[in-house]
């Protein structure tokens, strides 16, 4: 399989709504796995998802989803499932008919459509409410029925716009598990979310969007390493924190070394994490300091988001 057939590719994609910028000059190549799309409200996340699924057309640029153009919905949606944020449904539909009719639109017969409908309803724990009208569903149930519709035809690309909104903690945990399982099966799962720690937990890679621009993309550790203007924070728990603090503070790349309140660890801020890890090795040998844990303290989506997009835009 060529790279283009296994990736979602956006080349120099821009979208303007009249004079208002949606997204600008976006270049992405998204591999399989779970990709978190993170950004404040109005940053362009939904625009990106709508562009990928052909619901809107780019003002300029080219999009390819596993080698298929979004201009061909008849091919695209055989492989793509999109759980959009639109909280509106055709009038009078039940949960069952909402999913079932989608499968009939795929051209499947009654029997196969019924089987796949029940299968997807079961995956999102909606079998019991299947025959109730969607208009009477709670927000969480509407969210789940949309998810059932998106996965009912076993897509290879699953695009989920804020799929955890309105879900109770139990349903959130189940959904996260489902997304991770789908990612491990080799599917492309693209999830936008405001809940940064959940994105952190489930994503193999992240795309940070702000004001219509891609701020960063890739695996979160790699993205964090690239943020040079904010020194890395590393928490070290060891047998002699005072000695460690005095040793590391003498280094040029170390900006700060702060003893933990409990006196059992040191929080180090360094401009060169690799050099710091080498230094730790030396200290273990030379000064006989026993290390308990060494862990990055700001190597997560939340910190990267804060550094790149800023706290003022945080919309959790």
């Amino acid at each position: 399989m060529s790279a283009i057939e296994n990736r979602i590719i956006l080349e120099n994609v821009s979208k303007f709504y009249g004079e208002v910028l949606g997204v600008n000059r976006v270049n992405l190549s998204i591999p399989p796995g779970v990709t978190g799309l993170v950004g404040p409200n109005g940053s362009g996340k939904t625009t990106l998802m709508n562009l990928i699924t052909g619901l809107i057309r780019p003002t300029q640029g080219r999009i390819s989803v596993l080698g298929i153009s979004p201009d061909k919905p008849e091919e695209l949606f055989r492989r793509v499932g999109y759980c959009a944020q639109f909280d509106s449904f055709p009038k009078g539909v039940t949960g069952f008919s909402f999913v079932y009719n989608t499968l009939r639109l795929h051209g499947l017969d009654d029997r196969e459509s019924t089987r796949l409908t029940f299968e997807s309803l079961e995956r999102v724990s909606m079998t019991e409410a299947a025959n109730r009208k969607v208009a009477g569903y709670s927000k969480g149930m509407r969210q789940r029925i949309r998810l059932a519709q998106a996965i009912c035809h076993h897509p290879t690309v699953l695009i989920l716009d804020e799929p955890l909104n309105g879900l109770d903690p139990m349903a959130r945990a189940e959904s996260l598990e489902l997304f991770q399982a789908l990612g491990k099966q080799g599917l492309h799962v693209i999830i936008s979310s405001h809940i940064l720690h959940e994105v952190d937990k489930m994503s193999d890679q992240v795309i940070l969007v702000s004001s219509g621009y891609i701020v960063a993309e890739g695996q979160i550790h790699a993205v964090r390493t690239e943020v040079k203007e904010h020194p890395m924070q590393i928490l070290v728990r060891c047998s002699d924190p005072n000695l460690l603090a005095s040793r590391v503070f003498a280094q040029d790349h170390v900006v700060e070394a702060k003893l933990n309140d409990d006196g059992k660890g040191v929080l180090v801020r360094t401009r060169d994490a690799d050099a710091f890890y080498l230094l730790l090795n030396e200290l273990v040998v030379k000064d006989n300091i026993a290390m308990d844990t060494v862990a990055p303290a700001d190597d997560d989506v939340n910190s990267v988001y804060q550094y790149l997009i800023g706290a003022e835009n945080k919309t959790i």
Binding site: L55, I56, P73, E74, F86, F89, G107
Partner: protein, 286 residues
């Protein structure tokens, strides 16, 4: 291989069976919406208003003041002036402009756009749903009006229908109703894709359909009523200005009159297919 053979091969290779199943699925969903929506009640009223009037006429004309000949002309007038130029026109305006515009207003168009359905197939499926709805409503309205008009004459009415020209006239009225729904439906569907508010252009179409009889005959051929009034089975005696609406100055053959609205509809639908291909979901702007 000749160009024609190539086209034939390409035609045969298309997934017709899949498209048929998809159109059937769209029809199933849309018919329910079209027939059962509360906002469509006025279309029922339009379709059956003449039936109510004729029923009242039948009740109050028990003395037999009217004749079959007179009532046949009255029915012809009702069909040409009410159904053709008003009822079916505005009924189709309501039904066909709502097919896509209604989905946008109710924010449910993405439901169709997220399925692997060729946009052209979606358009034709929705158009078919509109035709079935409008033909059923107005066909039943015309049939009920016809039945009531001749039913109240008793055996004389039955004789007129089953042994006279009645059945042929009914067939012609129903045929014209179908062609009118196809012709107007295609125009209104296309307008709804072209403009957010299709009411003003629809009124322009109404003006066009009303006043084309005074234009050169070549121009008249772009009017739906130009063809349809030639197919109406009973001519209405009209003098002066009224003759403008009933007399065809340069009639075409029956076959051409039947094909005219169909060709017009096909042309307009081809344009609509181009528009729906480029249609985006932008609920916020609505």
């Amino acid at each position: 291989m000749t160009r024609l053979a190539e086209l034939r091969k390409k035609f045969a290779e298309q997934p017709w069976e899949l498209w048929t199943r998809q159109v059937a699925a769209i029809l199933r969903m849309d018919l329910r919406k079209n027939f059962l929506s509360r906002r469509g009640i006025w279309i029922y009223l339009l379709a059956f208003a003449p039936f109510v009037v004729i029923t009242l006429h039948a009740i109050f004309d028990r003395a037999g003041a009217s004749s079959i000949h007179t009532d046949t002309e009255v029915l012809a007038g009702i069909f040409q002036f009410f159904y053709l130029r008003f009822g079916i026109f505005f009924g189709c305006l309501g039904i066909f402009t709502w097919l896509f515009r209604g989905e946008v207003i109710e924010k449910s168009l993405h439901y169709y756009f997220l399925a692997p359905v060729k946009r052209e197939v979606l358009l034709l499926g929705k158009f078919a749903g509109g035709v079935v709805t409008s033909v059923t409503l107005f066909g039943l309205g015309v049939f009920a009006s016809f039945a009531m008009m001749y039913g109240h004459f008793g055996p004389a009415g039955q004789y007129y229908v089953f042994n006279g020209p009645g059945m042929g006239q009914l067939g012609a009225y129903l045929g014209v109703t179908v062609l009118a729904c196809i012709g107007y439906g295609a125009v209104f569907l296309m307008l709804s894709l072209l403009l957010k508010n299709p009411i003003i252009p629809a009124l322009l179409v109404l003006g066009w359909e009303t006043f084309t009889p005074v234009l050169p005959s070549l121009v008249q051929r772009f009017s739906v009523t130009y063809y349809l009034k030639q197919l109406c089975p009973v001519s209405i005696p009209a003098d002066g200005l009224m003759a403008l609406f009933t007399v065809v100055s340069e009639p075409v053959s029956i076959a051409a009159a039947i094909l005219g609205p169909i060709v017009l509809a096909a042309f307009v639908l081809a344009l609509a297919c181009k528009l729906v291909r480029r249609l985006e979901i932008s609920y916020v702007a609505e």
